[in-house]
Symmetry: C2
Subunit: 470 residues, 2 copies
Amino acid sequence: MAESDKFSVAIVGGGLVGSLAAVYCAKRGWKVDVYEARRDPRLESVDSGRSINLALSVRGISALKKAGVDEKILSNMIPMKGRLIHSMDGKLSSQPYGIFGECINSVDRMMMNKHLLDSAEAYPNVKLHFHHELNQCDFDNQKATFTKKDGSSVTVKADIMIGADGVYSRTRQQLMRKSRINFSQQYIDHAWVELAIPPTAEGEYAMDAHHLHIWPRQTFMMIALPNLDKSFTVTLFMPWSKFDAIKTEQDLLTFFRDTFPDSIPFMGEQLLVANYFKNIKGSLAQIKCRPYHYQDKVVIIGDAAHAMVPFYGQGMNCGMEDCIVLDDMFTKHLGDLSSPASLGPSGPAVAAALEEYSENRNPDAEAMCDLAMYNYVEMRSSVTKPEYLFRKKVEGWLHKIFPKTIIPLYTMVSFSRIPYAEALRRWNRQTAWFDGARTIGQLLAGASISVAVLALIVGRIPKIEIMLKK
Amino acid sequence: MAESDKFSVAIVGGGLVGSLAAVYCAKRGWKVDVYEARRDPRLESVDSGRSINLALSVRGISALKKAGVDEKILSNMIPMKGRLIHSMDGKLSSQPYGIFGECINSVDRMMMNKHLLDSAEAYPNVKLHFHHELNQCDFDNQKATFTKKDGSSVTVKADIMIGADGVYSRTRQQLMRKSRINFSQQYIDHAWVELAIPPTAEGEYAMDAHHLHIWPRQTFMMIALPNLDKSFTVTLFMPWSKFDAIKTEQDLLTFFRDTFPDSIPFMGEQLLVANYFKNIKGSLAQIKCRPYHYQDKVVIIGDAAHAMVPFYGQGMNCGMEDCIVLDDMFTKHLGDLSSPASLGPSGPAVAAALEEYSENRNPDAEAMCDLAMYNYVEMRSSVTKPEYLFRKKVEGWLHKIFPKTIIPLYTMVSFSRIPYAEALRRWNRQTAWFDGARTIGQLLAGASISVAVLALIVGRIPKIEIMLKK
């Protein structure tokens, strides 16, 4: 087949999700062009203003495996078996993530991105275009115009466009101009700043490397994830008002001494001050929209379609799983990779694939957005509460006995591919059972006490009668 | 005071809310510039793509009165005392809006807009600029750039900017780039098209002019409001799928004969067909956002801040009431009209006024958005249901006896200035009482029946005994 006859796809965004989507499309034999607004991160360092390391779990790993690009990443990540809670008094307590020793994994965003770009570029039918910023789209004529580094414009044509251009997605913005899209953007009143814990003088990890460290302080928290170079990337999450209140080095050090005293020796006061004042304070928003597509012309995936707060470590995993779900829809409607229909799909078949993707994926992505919002409360506060720990323990036991019937929420979200909305429903059901069992327990306890009291009273009646007779 | 020293306000949008806001600001002695993207409607006819007539009620009237611009409008409107329900069989039934004969009023959008522009322009400190489309804002430097008809740009400076530029507000868009704004946009699956009922051959109204006519058909509906020229403006609301299904004149006429048979003689088949196929089919969306302001620099009002579906006839009324609430906040924080502080207000005082406006108005506007969404169900379906009519009757009686304690929802929304959120709360409370009373009634009825049955059984026992003895 001539190059120009091939079914072509323009992917906007060469980040984690865009470059992985490029591999999936390349495997179908399509002509793939990836347009990324920033420079090639493999040539020059890019300051993306985004977090340095991320937690990779089952959904992301599944998406990498299905695309055959997992090997290098799996051998360059640090498994974290649980949360390590840092109390105010410096006491540490480990809370394992899974009952069977399952781990989430700290990975370097840039290493992964570079590897995925390399993997995509290894296909002869993939071209990467950096310094191409999406300007506007003419979806009906399947055209998109990009602005290049020198300010000039280029208009390209592609059979289908995939927008993987992140939370501020220009593709989504263009889609919203074209079609009736329900949309919501919700900021939370908290912000984040990235800090660091360097390796020790001996070149070792300053803290346990196989945990995600949390300093839960009820209304705010700090976390730390290990890096391969024996450092930790630390993120402080707290209300904007608390950030605003820290104006001087002294304010910062006082705040840290009062709230995270055990972390100061690890960070070093000088580095803490430098990082805190130099690094940007990021806002935290959630974006939901629906539908994700327009006819057979365009679909948005990843953060462009569903940006979530970072507290479940599922933003990247969910975006990567989008690639599996979209690929499954292509297979369902266009045939598998070897089918001729997959190579030269018809408009209606593509439209059906995109529509089913959108209908199917939206409730899951929105459930995950809600769970991520909820998990902030869990991480900064619930993890310190006896009720939470008790339920975690009971659910763990039950999960061991009935591994398919009772599954802790964290396990469903991070260690399975149970659709997020289904996980949320099952968890709500489990909560209802748990609360019901607790109520029955309380009633039984109440009844026992009543019976005991009654027995006591009845037992006393003869004595009273005797007393009266006296 | 020299002209250039005056506190200046740039109002974006010269529609109903923008031109009314201009009058309010003019009365404070501020230098007022109104920038409208379209041409002057007083010179040339403007096809705004928006509805021709609107229902003016207490909130809108109060805002016009407070600004002293009500007279001409009040003498050019048609009071509508209730809904006139058109059944499928052609039966008509009147449902009064208020228990004391209160009316909502059909007014011509263009007449009102022209009058408000005239009223604003009558102030020497007001200038109107047509063909000025907002391009971008530099809020921190209090500057805004507009594109003029010839494509040239002009940058203006003003102490404060008021965005009254409607549902697609560019001011809101610029505000969202500058500040963390929670935002949601929700389309409903229904659309509308405008039709018409002309005067009769005798030059009279074809139907009763003092009602808002409704053809409720459960999943869709048609309504008609009278105009001063003895015509009616008719709006058909229904799901997009129903619009899509009407492809030919024959489809349309069959649909109308099946669902709105009594309306066809009034419209005339030819005019119905012409209007239906010529007029645009409009989508229906709701927009909520928060906050409405940024520092002391900008505030958005009217549809720019809270666009609602049109089913409660409160979009315009709410936008006009915004002007009262904003003016009250200016008075509270800057002093009244005669105060020197009002003329040359300080930044912090303006910021406090805008912040309190935003905090205060947002819950009310959002409550109204929700009520408008709810009222579509009421208009197209509930008005035909006995339970609805029963509650309406009971609430009407109670309102007559306790006029301040029990107030029907429609009365609170359309015939009072009770804050919308408070109206919604009171209505929810009334619903709870009503449901409670109904449950008690049912229990009492059930208990009476049980007692009767018991009496019957007990009464029969001797007879059974006698039978057994035999």
